[in-house]
Amino acid sequence: MNELINELKVKIIETLNLIDVVPENIDENAQLIGGDLGLDSIDVLELVMMLEKDYGVKIDSREIGVKIFASVAALADYVHHYQSGKSN
């Protein structure tokens, strides 16, 4: 799981062109959207595309989105469960 969390941090930084941010700066339990990183709804959509492309994870409702993008840890958890077929 830690590996996935780190991998997601790197992908978030790359996908969103986060300036002066390294994976170590991102607290996986901190609020991801609207938090210190300054991410907003457009970034969420960009991440939705990245998750579908790189992990095959589909997110097509706002309600699920809010849950998944709560933190990097929540995101990793969702991706992990989705991939192991435990999520619907």
Partner: protein, 717 residues
Amino acid sequence: MGIISPVGRGIRDTIEAIKNAAPGIKPLRLFPTSSIESLPVGEITSLTYSEDVPRTHALARIAAEEAMHNACGSPDAVVIGVTTGGMPVTEELLKKGILDPGKYTYHSTGSVASYVARHVKCNGPVITVSTACSSGAVALKIALEMLRSGKAKQVLAGGVDALCRLTYYGFHSLQLVDETGAHPFDRKRRGMSVGEGAAMLLLTVAESPPHNAVAELLGAGLSCDAYHPAAPHPTGDGALKAMKEALSDARISPADIDYIHLHGTGTVDNDLAEARAIHSLFRDRPLPPLSSQKGAIGHSLAAAGAVGAVVSAISITNGIAPANTGFREPDPLLNLIPSVEPLQANINAVLANSFGFGGNNAVLVLGNPQRRERAPNLFCKVQPVPLAVLGSACFTGAGNAKKTMERLDQGESARGIVPPLEILKPLSEKYVRRLKRLCRMALSLAVSACEDNEKLAPPSAVYFGTGWGGMSETYDFLSKLYASDEQFTSPTDFIGSVHNAAAGHVAIRFQSTGPNVTTTGGDCSFEHALYSASLLSHDSNAPLIVIGADEHHDILSPLFDASVALGEFPADGGGALYLRPATSESLLRICPSFIAYAGNNGGGISELIISLGGAKRINEDFGAILSGIPAAERNKGEAQLNDFLSTTGYPHPVIDYRRFVGEFPSASAVAAVLAVSFAHTGEIPANICFPRATPLRGRGILVLGFGSHITAMEITP
């Protein structure tokens, strides 16, 4: 009027469709979609056209021909709102890897208006407005002000957009498309249906309406949310401001409105913001019948505002409020129940809303021409106002204005690619992390132009001219789409690919909630922006900013722009002027004096000379001419310039600025900023035309543009 939409071609069919609430949304058939299931769209399925032009151009011509049917003579001006331009063809070519510039002749949004102008034989201003989904209504506002100014007696104005992958996948990537088709204002609405169409209106100015007038455009209001690149202000503040401006412009009150043609895209956020704005406008008064047509015909984007105007006119002439197709269940959050069936009603005044990306709002008020209760709001020939220069900034390959002047002082060319770090200098990299080259350039220019004037009010309105818009975003969007077999792309790139994205960012930066207009008329986009600024500023004293910028893109620039392909060096850049309607005598002024389309014949030069006050004034008042001739139009442009010089016997220096600024559409914005700088110092610096500096002796400078458009900007002390 002329119209083509998914429910009919022509006014007669459209009236029938409205009476029957005909549905026009079906799964996409126009192009294959390899991975996602075909989404419901508003597609015109039986479109046939013989000429080898993009779909957008064909749609525009169909609507224009209908509008001009039985018209008396050619229009004095054409103003068209468009965002897709030649994209339906361009994206196919790029998908196939065809990189022959000859095939991209019709790519630009500006080529649509020129194409229409050729068919309707217009030799006056031919202006393209690209403000996303409000484009058509903004075009009508500009046309209205042209008529009020006395600059035109008859204007053909409207909007057009065609379905293409860019918009189809773009809105899908933003999760703004309802997979069951749009049902605006319904509790379970989940988004829009992307559509296409064209609507054109022939507007004429008259003290008493002509016998065949179908409606009167009573007024229009523009505003900007200055809030978010793609989402509306949550409480609809910008929409409310535009509605209020429109009603005030039309000199009527909310109580006079008999029907509201809603923007109503069907997205969760738009419909909520619009409903809130309507409630704020009407307060406790009962709402008139209201409906969105987008559940029936989809969202025709840049055409939507003009389609709304035509539908509003039909509602007036036929006494019918159209149905809000797709609405089933009221949404308690909206507290707004649109008409579910077409409604017979006596309609004398209509409020028609259009809102777009960049928080761009445009609202029209149309009235029954036979029931006019007040004198028309014509302002009796208010001329476009000269604008006083408060600040300026430019970028060339040399860098900012100072570095550009240093380079020119040394007798060297400033053309080239603007260094990225130079663009970034006045900006925070974190703040602009999502912005690509053009948006950064425009924002940086705006910030630099205003930075020495912190005591003055920030610009309340933004005018932006760009020949090609955000090419980096367009290219990256399509590249990602094709690389993933049309499965994935970047929502950020889609938002950035909209031509008015940069102007939206400038508005957010300065909280500019006034008009936000982006013009995309090729090599005179900047002049059109300045002209629009001057037209729309006659009743205001607020500062504004006019920006012109274009980015160089290694692949797209030489494909799209024949002048770039001919240029020896790639170049880009732009300029910005921080302005205020001129009141003080002590400031330099800039005035867009002349704009004409010269694509139909060889004329235009004598009209240019007349509009500048004749040879005597030109020779006495202007100590230098900065002349802009795009490389692809050298022969034509030089003949025009020579005609101008020999007719006037012009005795002062003439400077061919593209030779040292480079080949890109908004080179004229750089020229305007340089002219301001020369006029400030009172001389043309050494090495620009002569080895020594040339004194202007209190005279001004003319910036002229030649080629398929002839333009003049006066800079006077």
